[in-house]
Point group: C2
Chain length 315, copies 2
């Protein structure tokens, strides 16, 4: 039997047929213009599903379930997308809509961070692990928890929001309305903002040179690359970033004592330049002063598809 | 069958025979002078155990297990107390020592915060609950986690340290060596420190009057009582405390979405004067903006005995 996983993103829908060994047998991707109604999205997914089965030389009788990963707040029990701002989805009964196309096939819905954590559990950094934390460091900070070898969606089913743990009481305003959340100090956006601020004060820094004098070209990767190249201004930003992120991770470590902490999202691609000082500082800051396994998430762009496909195993 | 639970504290050992309904059938308490060696402690506990069974009109054949709650870091698997600073215990094989007295009877060891959470699970605020957080607000801040209806002792067995989640990145130095932990801003010690600081600046405040002009008499309860009585200086301290504690609780709520959050320790006795604004602010600050059940822990002084006695059920 196979599953189909859909990864509905802000700009595209990616989908794949996933087998029992968590491998993608066939893959498809189409652009998803913002503002597309959920009914159209469901129709597109139905067509993609059929085509995917065809490319994998399978038919509906081999399809066990459909999973959909959506970047937003999900009511899993009700099968609705409560809020997905990037998709302009609010209180959307996506599960029911999909069931109209795939009558007998169960359809599962999850948010993208949970799907990514589930993908790591079955096919990535969390294989064989009972307690794990995934932090995705992108525009915002998301994440998922594996507890007792299963995806944990919050004790009341509201979900988990690792990016909104507290890091700096009464710090900067966060997108969630609270102040000083992990997201305000550990996202790629923080690196970008600090990089852009820095070039105003230090126009001779390597950051400005690499960005060809254009503030818009400064992204998180560029700031990290400049730090790696020894630029003092970039290094100062990067050092503060590692300090902040290691505090957030030490906080998770003190609360859950996880076997593995995986980092995903754009910032995590910085490699050992980021991970080596991070491991050292988390060990120093954590209560038990033990080394923690802090590793890159393994699945990258496939996380959404594989995680969505694995939702059936988490019921 | 009954269990015996021992609550080894900094100044006394309390013990009780606990039945299957989690009720204490017989209770005993003796002073415990700091510096007493663990061998003497085990001998005292052995005698207490025998006397307790006698007072409950039971003999060894009714005793199923022994549990010991210790304020410190425990290696549960190895049965040793790694560090209990108040008891001056370091790498102490307490489990083995007790087994020498109670040959066939299994002996379990746990830290006091875990024991308290377990007691709430079987006999208090966490009955029937799958996901819960206990925070004990005393000299320090401790706590325990219930996940999947069981006591969670960390993914690697190191334990959980809720008082050492991050609250204020680069804030005040914490007893653990890190900066800005929850403990630095949410303990009774914080209230005492702020109360003592305030009377230096505002000697006319009600705090100083109630403390009879003696800084040493200022404790957390006195500061809270003065706030309740409308003293502006005390109210300012209390307001900041609620702000800090509600941020810590919102952080837990965002990570675990617990069904119940219970507060224990001296500060929690402030009652609705504390709990009412706390509930309001946690709802405001939390990501999902839902009301959380934030309640006083129910077991108070019996938590250690009952929790230790229930350790057998958590294996």
């Amino acid at each position: 039997m196979v599953q189909i996983g859909f990864d509905v993103g802000g700009s595209k829908i990616a989908a794949g047929v996933v087998n029992e060994r968590h491998k993608i047998l066939a893959r498809k991707e189409i652009p998803f213009p913002t503002g597309t109604s959920y009914k159209i999205v469901a129709e597109i997914m139905a067509v993609m599903g059929e085509e995917l089965l065809k490319s994998a030389k399978l038919d509906l009788s081999s399809l066990q379930s459909i999973g959909i990963s959506v970047p937003g707040d999900i009511d899993e029990a009700g099968g609705t997308v409560l809020n997905a701002h990037n998709l302009q989805f609010h209180n959307v009964p996506l599960q029911k809509e999909m069931k109209d196309y795939f009558k007998e096939i169960p359809v599962f819905l999850s948010n993208d961070a949970n799907a990514a954590a589930l993908a790591e559990l079955y096919a990535g950094a969390f294989r064989g692990v009972k307690t794990a934390v995934l932090l995705t460091l992108g525009t915002g900070v998301g994440g998922g928890l594996i507890l007792d070898g299963k995806l944990f969606n919050g004790g009341q089913g509201h979900g988990v929001e690792l990016g909104h743990m507290m890091l700096s009481h009464n710090g900067s305003i966060c997108s969630c309305g609270n102040k000083g959340c992990v997201e305000t100090l550990c996202s790629a956006s923080w690196l970008i903002r600090e990089g852009r601020k820095a070039v105003i004060e230090y126009p001779n820094s390597l950051i400005f040179l690499k960005a060809e004098g254009s503030i818009e070209k400064i992204n998180a990767r560029l700031v990290i690359d400049c730090a790696r190249d020894g630029d003092a201004v970039a290094m100062d930003i990067f050092t503060r970033y590692v300090d902040q992120l290691s505090s957030a991770i030490a906080s998770c470590a003190n609360l859950l004592d996880p076997e593995v902490i995986a980092l995903g999202g754009g910032v995590s691609r910085a490699g050992e330049f980021l991970f080596a000082p991070l491991r050292k500082q988390v060990e120093e800051k954590s209560y038990f002063h033990v080394p923690y396994r802090i590793v890159p998430a393994e699945l990258g762009n496939d996380a959404g598809i594989i995680g969505a496909a694995m939702l059936i195993n988490n019921k």
